[in-house]
Symmetry: C2
Subunit: 143 residues, 2 copies
Amino acid sequence: MFSNSTKYAIKAVLYLAVHSSEEQKIMIKDIAEPINVPKHYIAKILQALSKKDIISSTKGPKGGFYLTSDQLQTKVMQIIETVDGEERLNSCLLSLEKCNSDNPCSLHHLVFDEKNKINERLKMTILKDLRQHIMRGESILPL
Amino acid sequence: MFSNSTKYAIKAVLYLAVHSSEEQKIMIKDIAEPINVPKHYIAKILQALSKKDIISSTKGPKGGFYLTSDQLQTKVMQIIETVDGEERLNSCLLSLEKCNSDNPCSLHHLVFDEKNKINERLKMTILKDLRQHIMRGESILPL
DNA sequence: AGTAAAATATGATAAAAATCACATTTAAGA
DNA sequence: TCTTAAATGTGATTTTTATCATATTTTACT
Ligand code: FES
Ligand code: FES
């Protein structure tokens, strides 16, 4: 469903959501290891997210990555779109085109409503929500 | 959601479902072109499907690919599993593991029910159903 | 100012997925 | 039985995705 890069991105950002703050920055290697993602790979992804202002970073000693409280309001969908590009989630199951109810492919009616529901949730769920889930022990941040 | 190969496979099989029969076999090039898939690529996929008895074929002059009426009973899910492998649809959104409600990842609750519903439908929908849809003009076989 | 510790930029390599090419096998029809 | 038309098998090439490496920039601390 998601690319590898997006999976990694979500895991990393969620890790920051739980463990970081403006006073508690985290170095790349201390993110990569606990979420089980190659260090150099996640570095590239975090840099892209940082450039898009989805996460924050500072260079130099005592530097690292972190989330501001504003950034805890980021919607999950924003991360997905930033990494995978917008098209991916709205593409038709059978063609390259955008899914289109006026010209539905043969699988469209099997999936459209559910896919929509999922997309809606990804659009309204923010990092803070997921952090709360994790801190309550209702879900985990998998390896 | 699906790999390119699975998309192509479904389109090709659906094309056969609509246009072929034991008396009306279709050559690779006459499948590849209308569904807009590279000839050599779809050939490989069709060969795999043929070996798994999801479609039929005969060699030589007047040969080609076709579906028997038995094969019109094939479930969409069978095609997906044959091409992409079973794991893909049941894997967790964030990890390599199988999705597991007893140990849910942070996105699990956002998608589980809907993904399940989709999977159920893919498991109970057969090619004949989709063919009917297409022939009634309720859905299309996209390029 | 100088040094060291961090992210950043850029690019190289490896692995996987998609695509292309061709020689082999099978079967129909002359 | 010979020729030809089709799928089949095997493997090569290209493209995309994932991974690795390294030089540069920024910043804190001395
Ligand atoms: S048109 Fe294909 S999934 Fe909607
Ligand atoms: S455990 Fe991750 S999607 Fe179910």
